[in-house]
């Protein structure tokens, strides 16, 4: 087929395909993956492995939030709730029905996904029909409701104490698969690679999603809803599809999170703090960049891991000063200020700013 018969879109795609491997982006992404895969082999410290696993989970979670926020332009405060649904579904399935098996694990994931999909579609149908802004308020109310439910239904969810399920077979703490090339194969290690693989797959699915015709329609709606509607798209159906997709991905990651920390309580998986963390990560990495989530998650989780050390240091330096101690205790305050500053001065986040700078350089060349 000669090139003059191709449509402009096809031409653009062809050019993009040709350019693809000349840019640093794919190699950087590959490097991230390799780095994550090498962590347990190079650094034997559990703290580092724990951090790496959480970064992988949260990077994917933030990316799924970005699909809703950055690529569709709907503000949801219920993303942590869907994460929590996954976490609780897996924890309940493993903990409440006898000795855990792989079937329990799979059933937990499936139940979580089914629940999230149903609720996401319902919330979307109520709120997006009127105004996208309703979505923010209603998801906030639902998230609060879910949190209260999780705390109050003590006989099911364990209340504030939460649930600590045990994992089956090769994921169990007690599992010992001998040594492989000098590295002891433990349940932790297997779980780590399992989670990493799931996160990778989810990332690929999300990249596919946003570059699909559906994803492009979503971006059109985000940029100009009236115009998209005038072109004949039923915008709210597309918005529901996107928010449900993001929610389902978040649910799967919630399950992964429970598999890693082996613990789910309202505060750690449903609470407003999870939501704030997500927002901060997505803002820092860059709204509407998908891979910015890796930077956002790495930055924030590393900072939070280091914070206790900073606090003990500050306590020893400013010993005796009540107000200074209070100021170091309130680290959320600084995150809040950081949040406002980033929104004001780097509304595109790290990746977005870098992309802009690169594009400018290319244009002037």
């Amino acid at each position: 087929m000669s090139s003059d018969r191709l449509t402009p879109v096809q031409l653009a795609r062809q050019a993009e395909r040709r350019r693809r491997f000349r840019q640093p982006a794919p190699y950087l992404r590959l490097a991230c993956l390799v780095l994550a895969a090498l962590v347990p082999l190079v650094v034997p410290s559990f703290q580092v492995l724990d951090l790496a696993a959480k970064i992988a989970i949260f990077a994917a979670l933030v990316a799924s939030y970005d699909v809703v926020l950055g690529y569709t332009g709907i503000v949801s405060f219920g993303h942590a709730m869907f994460f929590g649904f996954g976490a609780y579904a897996v924890a309940l399935s493993l903990g409440k029905f006898g000795a855990p098996t792989y079937a329990h694990l799979a059933a937990g994931f499936l139940a979580g996904v089914a629940l999230s999909a149903t609720i996401a579609v319902l919330i979307g149908a109520f709120s997006l029909r009127v105004k996208a802004i309703f979505f923010a308020m209603i998801t906030l109310a639902f998230a609060e409701f879910a949190l209260i439910l999780a705390v109050q239904l003590t006989h099911i969810t364990g209340g504030e104490d939460g649930l600590s399920p045990t994992l089956p077979g090769i994921f169990a703490v007690s599992y010992n698969g001998g040594r492989l090339g000098g590295i002891p194969v433990t349940g932790r290690l297997v779980t780590y690679y399992f989670i990493l693989a799931i996160c990778l797959v989810l990332f690929l699915v999300m990249a596919r999603f946003i570059h699909s015709p559906l994803g492009r329609t979503l971006q059109a709606i985000r940029d100009n809803e009236l115009r998209a509607e005038a072109l004949g798209f039923r915008t709210f159906v597309f918005q529901i599809a996107s928010s449900s997709f993001g929610s389902v991905v978040a649910t799967v990651l919630g399950g992964c999170y429970v598999m890693w920390v082996r613990y789910a309580n309202p505060e750690s998986v449903l609470g407003i703090h999870v939501m704030l963390d997500l927002l901060l990560m997505v803002i820092i990495g860059g709204i509407g960049t998908l891979y910015g989530s890796i930077i956002g998650a790495t930055f924030l989780l590393t900072a939070q891991t280091l914070l206790p050390h900073v606090r003990t240091l500050a306590a020893s330096v400013f010993a005796g000063s009540m107000i200074m101690q209070r100021m170091t205790e309130r680290w959320l305050l600084y995150f809040g200020i950081l949040f406002i500053l980033v929104v004001f001065f780097f509304p595109k986040g790290v990746i977005g700013t870098v992309r802009d700078a690169l594009a400018k350089r290319q244009a002037t060349r």
Binding site: S127, I133, M137, E144, L276, L332, L333, G336
Partner: protein
């Protein structure tokens, strides 16, 4: 008949809980529900006007509420420790304490509101997503400042002696403070309505809610009006904060966030931009919450969500929504 139908349905629903409880409990719960509704209304009224005028969804409104409560708490504590105005069995002193707390809270809230509007909201006009994000960021900061200044724990709010206890009206126990809250709420509603319908500023604000661009074309600086509305809304939130602190006899940093969720539900039920809608929505929420909390304690929050969903299904723009 068509016009009367909704009123009849509402009256029937209002009397429905009587079937499950005796009349005395019903009256007590109704008073408590009306008071709660009025306090939520104070928060929701500002929220709905701010949204109606400039399409700004102000997530920091709850944090202003908390600030109001804490400032009122400090003033009340100070006056009580110094001169014992709360514990004194004197009606004028007690009323003065309440008035001083409210006044201080409102003054601080007006300052905070102007600051928020100028510094936080103004740079991101017209961009919904960034407004939501930035006001959320402001909420974190404002709430953390409370924890820093007053400490992170619950504290007991001094309640003036006059407003403690209850009246015994024909064998029905009527708590005093809720009655005060109801009276105050009615006064505020009348005040807002008069301001909006009888003054020139109110006229411009109402026109701005209807069509902001046209107001600008006619030569009015809508931003200046918006700053005023924002400040006034913040003051109302602070008033709600002080009243709520006395109502629940405690202050805590997260109280604003909890109220904000009620206020959102109310604003959605009543329709964005409508003050009367918020009043009605707030009363619905307050009453149903109290009735259900008595009958089925665990379903109390759920009933509000259910009502919200039901109203959204029947009337997607809310009871009094303009549908713009």
């Amino acid at each position: 008949m068509r016009r009367a139908a909704p009123i009849l349905v509402a009256a029937a629903l209002f009397l429905l809980p009587l079937a499950f409880m005796d009349a005395r409990t019903y009256v007590t719960l109704t008073v408590a529900g009306l008071a709660m509704g009025m306090l939520i209304f104070l928060v929701a009224a500002g929220l709905t006007l701010i949204f109606g005028l400039m399409d700004v969804l102000n997530f920091a409104h709850g944090a202003v509420f908390s600030w109001g409560a804490y400032v009122g708490f400090s003033v009340a504590l100070l006056l009580n420790q110094r001169w014992g105005w709360a514990t004194a069995p004197s009606v004028p002193l007690n009323v003065l304490l309440l008035a001083a707390s409210i006044l201080a809270a409102m003054v601080v809230a007006v300052g905070l509101g102007i600051l928020l509007e100028r510094v936080i909201v103004r740079p991101v006009y017209g961009r919904h997503m960034f407004q939501i994000l930035i006001t959320l960021g402001a909420t974190i900061v404002i709430e953390e400042l409370i924890r820093m200044i007053w400490g992170p724990n619950d504290q007991v709010m001094p309640v003036p002696l006059t407003f403690q206890g209850s009246w015994d009206v024909a064998d029905v126990i009527v708590l005093r403070f809720p009655v005060v809250a109801i009276v105050l709420g009615v006064l505020v509603y009348l005040g807002i309505t008069l301001l909006l319908t009888r003054t020139r500023v109110g006229l411009i604000v109402r026109a701005g809610v209807e069509n902001g661009e046209m107001i600008q074309v006619l030569g009015h600086n809508i931003y200046r009006y918006f700053t005023r509305v924002f400040a006034a809304g913040s003051a109302l939130a602070a008033l709600g904060g002080v009243m709520w602190a006395m109502f629940s006899q405690s202050v805590r940093p997260t109280m604003g966030g909890e109220q904000l969720i009620f206020a959102f539900i109310v604003v959605i039920i009543g329709g964005l931009g409508s003050v009367t809608g918020s009043l009605l929505g707030a009363l619905i929420v307050g009453l149903s919450y109290n009735y259900v909390a008595f009958l089925v304690p665990k379903a109390a929050i759920g009933i509000n969500m259910a009502i919200m969903v039901l109203i959204l299904l029947l009337r997607p723009t809310g009871l009094f929504g303009a549908g713009k």
